[in-house]
Amino acid sequence: MAVRKLIGFNLLTGVVLGVIGYIVGWQLGHIPTGESIEYFGDTGQNDIAMFCAYMLGVIGFLVGLGFANYPIQRMLGKPPSLREKETGGWTRYFGLCTDHKVVGIQYLVGIGVFIFIGGLNAMLIRYELLTPNQHLANGNNYLTLVGLHGTMMMGMMTSGILGPVANYFVPIMIGARRMAFPRIEALTFWLLMAAGVILMTALAFGGFPTGWTGYEPLADQANMGMDAYICFFALVGLSMCLLGLNMLATVITMRAPGMAWGRLPMFVWGVVSTAILMLLAAPVLFSALLMETLDRTAQTGFFNVQAGGSPYLWENLFWIFGHPEVYILALPGMGILLEILPVFSRKPVWGYRLAVTGMLGISLLSWLVWQHHIFVSGINADLRPFYMLSTELISLPTGFIFICALGTLWAGRIRLTVPMLFCLAWIFNFLIGGLSGVFLSDVPSDVTTHGSFFSMAHFHYTIMGGLIFTFFAAIYYWVPKMTGYEINEFWGKVHFWSMFIAFNSTFGPLLVIGFLGQPRRVVTYPGFLQGANEWVSVSAFVLGASMIVFLVNFVYSQVIARVPAAANPWGSKSIEFQLPSPVPVHNFDRIPTFGPDPYPYGEGAEAAPSGPVIAPARHTK
């Protein structure tokens, strides 16, 4: 039985077939010859082989995991199992599993690993910036580090909340037993893991110099490491697109009786508005990456001026994806914020419809602003007032989120638990992020701040201060429900305060450093900024240490010294907390029915019979 499990379809067979696919692809890629690819001999950079290797590697990996079994069995006319390995003990976490709760936990750990690597790169970047000159002994690695940090974080965190939290809780919150497409759900996770590994292999092929934006024609000059960037983002784009599609399909089609649109929890609204962006933005990225692939392999000239192309094409396509992308990162955080605030203020969400309007408004407006990233690039100078206006208009729906969050606190009975602290920090951080964004949206001000540390600090305030803080709020709030074990509250508070202080002490000064003229992504800066940079670096190391506090606390309470969590430790009225911890397989025995009030908090609200009617499933394994 054990041997059968080992050579069955699981992570091990996936990796083995992945490596085999990689080697086969590499060999195949060396077969084509001819005048048009003669230059591979000069450069020693056979991009065709690299792409073939990555593609066949990924295909081998997925086949090894068992993704081909279902279609092949159907083609052979055999009746396959529809729900693979949903009750298989701990091994189901290491393979294709269609249980949305298993996928959620896989996402949590898998994404956590890559975010940890991204954070480690950030530490190395700050180590380099301790002095005004390059001192990482290997001179090429700084830009690669910058690229690996940015690309890894941007790629992984797109699914940072939708992956673990939404996969786990959206079906439960809407009263479903599974996602609309469970096999696609598992696919999105494994694609992301393959992508993360591929990105790290860039180091073995000379790295890539472009940062996460991959601007042409620099990307075309780069070594084979660039191919890893392209494959990474393509797989992330595919994963994002499928994840968004799956989420939308689930929320649209699988809501339980009584779960009308106007009763969706705020978190689900956050997921819906994000999923719309994911579904529509990722294909733009994917097609732009395809052009870049062709430029690098078939020597087309999409982005080469003298061959009839234009680097502006990349800038435009990338930011048409890239700006919705940053809202893909921000919106789930807003959903979590408005989901958690009512629980710990003991009040309903303040201005439910305004908050939903805010999220959907951000979704819509984020399509109309992309050229604010290229205000000084010399393209469409006459359109700058429009993009200035549309960008500043985003403050309006964002303002809705703020006023709803503040209103929810009003006259509540606020309990400053760890998740609540992280949510309150969102309000502070996102405020700074939003205000600094106004400088960047204003063209005269952007002339100085564009491409400087100011813009870098701005988006770290919105994404790290917005998304990562709510990500941790979600972990402290929901992980006991996911695993059935508590997380130590005291060390959670240590984590929060050290992270909050170190975060602001890192990125606050960076806003000033940017204003004083330090560009992004450089190893050198004027000598008078050394003191400030040292301060920032030390703060960043403290920030890194606060993550270690979290990690130790998390592993200690989840793995080593487990304390079983109560079913509803927070007194939440949300449906997932009416189920046992961890949530049983198949969630519900009977599909629940929902009452009219998603947030029956507040004095006098309990009396109304408005909560869901639930029959939890009986299986616990």
């Binding site: 024609p217 006023i403 106004v438």
Partner: protein, 276 residues
């Protein structure tokens, strides 16, 4: 008095107090020190613009932070408290007030920013067909970005190309920024000028320096291995110093001037694609 006030009144009064304390700091302390300094017409415009942004943001910041801190203190209960909060689902009037004030602020900022932008071009790259053109005589200076150095060409001085940038004070300068390879960005910090250098594109930015001084030139768009080392110092000098300097450069680079292609707004030298 304080204890008899409602929560709403307390937050309102605190917000006003905080705003009144912060506004003079924004206007008189931070404002004049905002980047990039008032060394040029566009720099002065940017400083003014940044100051206005600070002023508009102040009341909103004061409100949100005051409210947040007040709520976290006044409405906090111990974790063991099991009582519920007030059952409030919204408040139409507050929502409308918020919507109206934020809309007004946003529209004001957009209109103000547009007016500032159109008055001088704000020192930003405007592409080959600038929508804001200053009147009078203009000294064109071409900035050529290449991996990894900026060089400069003065078309009105025989097209001489130099390794250093000097411009005369009090003269309207038009920087024509272009690149020979990857995308760079010409950032003259103290001048308040930033314009991307794109291959095959003439990106124009205007500036009129007001004081003689040195200024930092940096590349602000990731352009490869030595991006971080693509910096230089430029000088704003008097008209007579400039005349002397440019004549000296013409002598110094007399040999290379013969090799240079005729002045053009963009160049496409070989090799353009896969070199070999």
């Amino acid at each position: 008095m304080w204890s008899s006030w409602s929560h709403g009144r307390r937050v309102a009064v605190l917000t006003i107090v905080v705003t009144i304390i912060l506004l003079p700091i924004m206007i008189f302390v931070l404002g004049p020190n905002m980047p990039p300094g008032k060394n040029t017409d566009v720099g002065k415009g940017q400083v003014f613009d940044n100051t206005v942004l600070l002023i508009v943001m102040t009341p909103f910041t004061a409100f949100i932070l005051t409210y947040l801190v007040y709520a976290a203190i006044a409405f906090r209960v111990p974790d063991s408290d099991s009582r519920e909060g007030a059952h409030i689902r919204g408040h139409m009037r507050s929502q409308i007030i918020w919507l109206v004030t934020t809309t007004a602020a946003v529209l004001f900022l957009a209109i103000f920013g547009t007016a500032e932008l159109l008055s001088t071009g704000a020192g930003g790259g405007q592409g080959p067909k600038p929508i804001t053109k200053p009147g009078g005589t203009v000294l064109p200076v071409q900035v050529i970005g290449q991996q990894w150095e900026f060089t400069f060409r003065y078309p009105t001085y025989g097209g001489v190309e130099t390794a250093q940038l000097e411009i005369p004070v009090g003269t309207q300068i038009a920087f024509h920024v272009t690149s020979l390879d990857a995308i760079h960005s010409f950032w003259a910090y103290q001048l308040g000028v930033k314009a991307d250098a794109n291959p095959g594109v003439d990106n124009v930015a205007y500036v009129k320096p007001k004081t003689t001084r040195s200024f930092d030139i940096r590349c602000a768009e990731l352009c490869g291995l030595w991006h971080g080392y693509m910096f230089d110092t430029g000088y704003v000098v008097t008209q007579s110093q400039f005349t002397t300097w440019i004549a000296q450069q013409q002598r110094l680079y007399a040999k290379s001037m013969k090799d240079l292609p005729p002045f053009a707004y963009t160049y496409a030298p070989d090799p353009t694609f896969r070199a070999g």
